[in-house]
Amino acid sequence: MTTAFSESVGIALRVNGEPVSARVEARRHLIDFLRLDLGLTGAHAGCEHGVCGACTVQVDGLIVRGCLMLAVQADGCDVWTIEGQSDTGAIRDLQDAFIARNALQCGFCTPGMLAACADLLAHDPAPSRAVIREHISGNYCRCTGYEAIVDAVEQVAARRGASPRAAE
């Protein structure tokens, strides 16, 4: 079986705004490519079967699970990880709110959680608490109990000037 899977494929993509070209094994997952080949260890592998959300990164503007996408599928894509988003300041307010509200403890789920929260706010600038809870329900956090995360997202929505919708 090893020969069947050991084929490597050339890919070219943009990661955090920079061009990257590499040869990767066909079976390499995007999260492993980012972590092991590019040293971008911000996003984590928590389950490797699509359940925990720790590996969430942005590909062509959409959030995806890095453990369910192969690196070769990202050929030609525009990939953003927490490191790149931090450097551009794209989600600085959300990160600051996480710090202020202690919406992280061990921080292992946090990069994936931030990706999910940023995605929510991009599509719904004034989510209710219930909507926030619903949206991040694909992301495990074993430390915080989630409430601080919900508070942080709510705060950012308010600060960005959107008035919160009534709870549904």
Binding site: M1, T2, S6, E25, R27, R35, G39, L40, T41, G42, A43, H44, A45, G46, C47, E48, H49, V51, C52, A54, T81, I82, E83, S86, Q95, F98, I99, A100, N102, L104, Q105, C106, G107, F108, C109, T110, P111, L114, R129, A130, I132, R133, E134, I136, S137, G138, N139, Y140, C141, R142, C143, T144, G145, Y146, E147, A148, I149, V150
Partner: protein, 796 residues
């Protein structure tokens, strides 16, 4: 020197304030460094072939095909590793009669649970190592499986370790007072049988280790996702035959631990042994399936309880019979008997009565080993006690709040010794309960409940008082012979620029330990908090200590840090006095400046003092002590443990058609003594509550009869997610411990300790109109429907 810690307006006041965590800035940018993020030159990877059988003799291991897999370097069997790493037996001398069998890093001859490591494959990459594992073939001869703890001691049940003579690991009977007579005299006797499901911690960062060995230095360096680096240093040294000083354990960022990462894991010992054998860095990171099968499990208990109350509803007697299955080995070095022992120690803990009989029976099974997980024994003891208290209230015709008022140990009764012989220094059960009832507006909720019930909406309100064991002394492990430090130390040092470095033996795993240490040191020395850098998690650098367990970081590590900080301040003042030709007593350190104590007038910045001491020491008087560094250690001595207390309440709605439980709100009032950082304490409690809720409603390591774990991945083993969780209201009562100047007790277990009991009582309160109840966690829809008679009850 003393501090008036209750005055938040004093200069340099950080203790008692919410300040942000310095390490959070790094973590939100994805710049944490967990073990799996570390790459060392010539690093190799290990993957394990794990037993697919719960109990089997290991026959021939065919390695030829695996060895040919590209990238595979070496293959280690149990015998190979046993030549490098000695086996261990996890017993403690003070738990009389506790026994276990020698356990190897990799199974030798026999596998005793599904997931036990059988072969290790070392390769250039993890993927290649897994390819190698897939190419192995191992012949097994299945043996009879001991799965059911209820029959583990039956004569016809096979023995897991025949040399032990039976499957009994530990039995303890505790008795105080005339129990039978008290029950005979009771106006009401209530009884029930409770079950708590097997759980596991599901740390988001799986267990991870990267061990490297330098042959010329005979030095083992281990990057380890652990809670107890010094304990691991001692253990690696002992079992790999190295001098303790030649082992360095480093734990940087740890992605959650909750007690799961305070144990010795066979696969991790194997990795260290392989690193020694190969003299190169070896990494192992458990994948999620391995985590479920090999991280310790916990809380697999069946408890029969009986409570007697008099005509006024006062408790006259309590009897507990606890049975727990721990897997095939007692886990090293803390032992798996501690959880059952805690159940005996903690049952009835908040209540004023002195007639108590309790026993725990700890048996072997062919399942993943169990050991300590967050709030060891607490959720079990609290659920049983609080469940019985609610039953007694019903029998005596009292409201659940009222029966607690009548029975909780009075707030002025301390010091108090419980029926289980636990000594309490100062608790606040009544103040906590009253605050809780007020926070939740108990009476209004009861009225609303009655109205809704008429409309067919079934809400329940559950209360639970609890005690929490924190700040343990050597009475927990040390007296039993385990080399687990109950003391901790802190070294505080001032550098030339006036900044301060604090090195502590306690560790950071996300609770915010580094932050509270910085707060305490900043206040103790007298510098702004951003001038303090805290270093933890490196055994070569920090004072020897216990690390993180039993909520000891603030109470033990914090006090050591405070005392070290105060000692450094004294040294600074002695030197400053010589420089300024003043009395040391007339000076103070405030916000990084030497000031005149009486007027507050600035005399000299610390950086100037640093410049003189380090670069112009010639200008200071000869013989002046000039150490700008101080180390202090702390251990509790008057009480074996600093008990904390609190009360929780839960509001739930039970859908009697579907059996689903909706959590509407949760409250917790907790007394952890001095609060160092209110936000961090609240978030510890919230996180803990959610883990408790998980145990009450979702989490369950379910096994088949032949010992296969059926909930072995994140999709099958349910944990609480954001959408199901309620908002939580947290309140505090502060009763500082007099054992230390700081006065802090622990707060890490409280949430987990009380939540399952509160949820259980709330569900049963909701089910009251149907005259039925549930007592087996998790309270799944199926179990609730079975209690309602809608579906047949299945065996647990």
């Amino acid at each position: 020197m003393t501090l008036n810690l209750s005055d938040l307006d004093r200069p340099n006041s950080y203790i008692g304030r919410t300040v942000p965590r310095p390490n959070a800035a790094r973590l939100v940018e994805g710049r944490g460094q967990y073990v799996d993020d570390i790459v060392l030159p010539r690093m190799v990877h290990v993957a394990f072939y794990r037993s697919p059988y719960a109990h089997a003799r290991i026959g021939a291991i065919e390695t030829e095909a695996a060895a040919k897999v590209p990238g595979v370097l070496r293959i280690f069997t149990g015998a190979d590793v046993a030549a490098i790493c000695t086996p261990w037996v996890a017993v403690l001398a003070h738990l009389k009669g506790l026994k276990s069998a020698p356990q190897h890093a990799i199974a030798v001859e026999r596998a005793t649970w599904v997931g036990e490591p059988v072969v290790a494959v070392v390769a250039q990459t993890r993927a290649a190592a897994e390819d190698g594992v897939a190419a192995l073939s191992v012949r097994f001869e299945p043996l009879p499986v001991v799965a059911d703890m209820e029959t583990a001691l039956a004569p016809e049940t096979p023995l897991i370790h025949p040399e032990l003579g039976d499957n009994l690991v530990f039995h303890r009977l505790h008795e105080k007072g005339e129990v039978d007579a008290a029950f005979a005299s009771a106006a009401h006797v209530v009884e029930a049988t409770f079950h708590t499901g097997r759980h596991t911690g599901v740390c988001m960062e799986p267990r991870s280790i990267l061990a490297s060995y330098s042959r010329p230095e005979n030095q083992l360096t281990v990057h380890h996702s652990t809670q107890a680096p010094h304990m691991m240093q001692t253990i690696f040294a002992k079992h790999l035959d190295l001098p303790e000083g030649n082992v360095r354990v480093i734990c940087g960022d740890v992605g959650g631990s909750y007690g799961i990462k305070v144990h010795v894991y066979p696969d991790e010992m194997a990795v260290a042994a392989i690193a020694k054998a190969m003299a190169r860095p070896v990494k192992f990171v458990a994948d999620r399936l391995e985590s479920f099968a090999s991280d310790i499990h916990a809380r697999d208990h069946r408890i029969k309880g009986r409570m007697g109350v008099d005509g006024e509803g006062r408790i006259v007697a309590l009897e507990i019979d606890d049975l727990t299955g721990i897997g095939p080995y007692s886990v090293y070095p803390r032992t798996s008997a501690i959880e059952g022992n805690q159940v005996v120690n903690l049952c009835g803990g908040p209540y004023d009565f002195q007639t108590y009989r309790a026993q725990t029976t700890v048996v072997l099974q062919n399942k993943t080993p169990t050991c300590q997980y967050r709030a060891v024994g607490h959720p079990i003891a609290t659920a049983v006690t609080e469940g019985l208290v609610d039953l007694a209230a019903e029998a005596a015709g009292l409201d659940p709040a009222e029966i607690r008022r009548r029975n909780l140990v009075a707030d002025d009764a301390y010091p108090y010794t419980s029926a289980a012989n636990m000594r309490f220094e100062g608790l606040s059960h009544h103040a906590s309960l009253e605050k809780l009832l007020k926070l939740m507006d108990y009476d209004a909720l009861r009225a609303e409940q009655a109205t809704l019930r008429k409309q067919g909406i079934h809400r329940g309100i559950g209360l639970a008082s609890f005690i929490e064991l924190t700040n343990p002394s050597p009475f927990m492990y040390g007296i039993g012979g385990a080399r687990i430090s109950a003391q901790d130390g802190c070294t505080v040092r001032m550098d030339p620029d006036g900044s301060v470095v604090a090195l502590s033996g306690v560790t950071e795993q996300g609770q915010g330990t580094d932050t509270i240490l910085a707060q305490v040191v900043a206040e103790g020395v007298g510098v702004p908090i951003d001038r303090v850098r805290v270093i933890t998690g490196d055994t070569q650098v920090t004072p020897y200590g216990g690390g993180t367990w039993a909520s000891r970081g603030a109470g033990i590590g914090g006090e050591a840090a405070l005392q070290a900080g105060l000692a450094l301040r004294e040294s600074i003042l002695t030197i400053a006095a010589a420089m300024l030709q003043a009395e040391a007593g007339s000076l103070d350190v405030v916000a990084g400046e030497i000031v005149d104590k009486a007027t507050g007038q600035a005399r000299m910045p610390l950086a100037e003092l640093g410049r003189i001491v380090y670069f112009r020491g010639d200008t200071l008087p000869k013989g002046l002590p000039r150490e700008l560094v101080a180390t202090r250690h702390f251990i509790t001595s008057d009480y074996p443990f600093a008990f904390t207390n609190g009360a929780q309440a839960s509001l739930v709605e039970v859908d009697v058609e579907t059996g689903f439980v909706r959590l509407l709100k949760h409250w917790c009032v907790e007394d952890c003594g001095r609060i160092i950082n209110p936000q961090l304490v609240d978030e510890q409690i919230r996180g803990g509550i959610v883990q408790g809720i998980g145990g009450a409603l979702y989490e369950h390591c379910l096994y088949s009869e032949d010992g296969q774990l059926m909930t072995a991945n994140m999709a099958d083993y349910l944990v609480p997610m954001a959408a199901e969780m309620p908002d939580m209201v947290i309140g505090h009562v502060e009763t500082p411990t007099r054992e230390s100047l700081l006065g802090a007790k622990g707060a890490g277990e409280a949430g987990t300790a009380g939540a399952p009991a509160a949820i259980m009582n709330a569900i049963n309160d909701a089910l009251k109109p149907f005259s039925t109840r549930v007592a087996a966690m998790p309270f799944t829809p199926e179990r609730i429907l079975a209690a309602l008679g809608t579906v047949p009850a299945r065996r647990l």
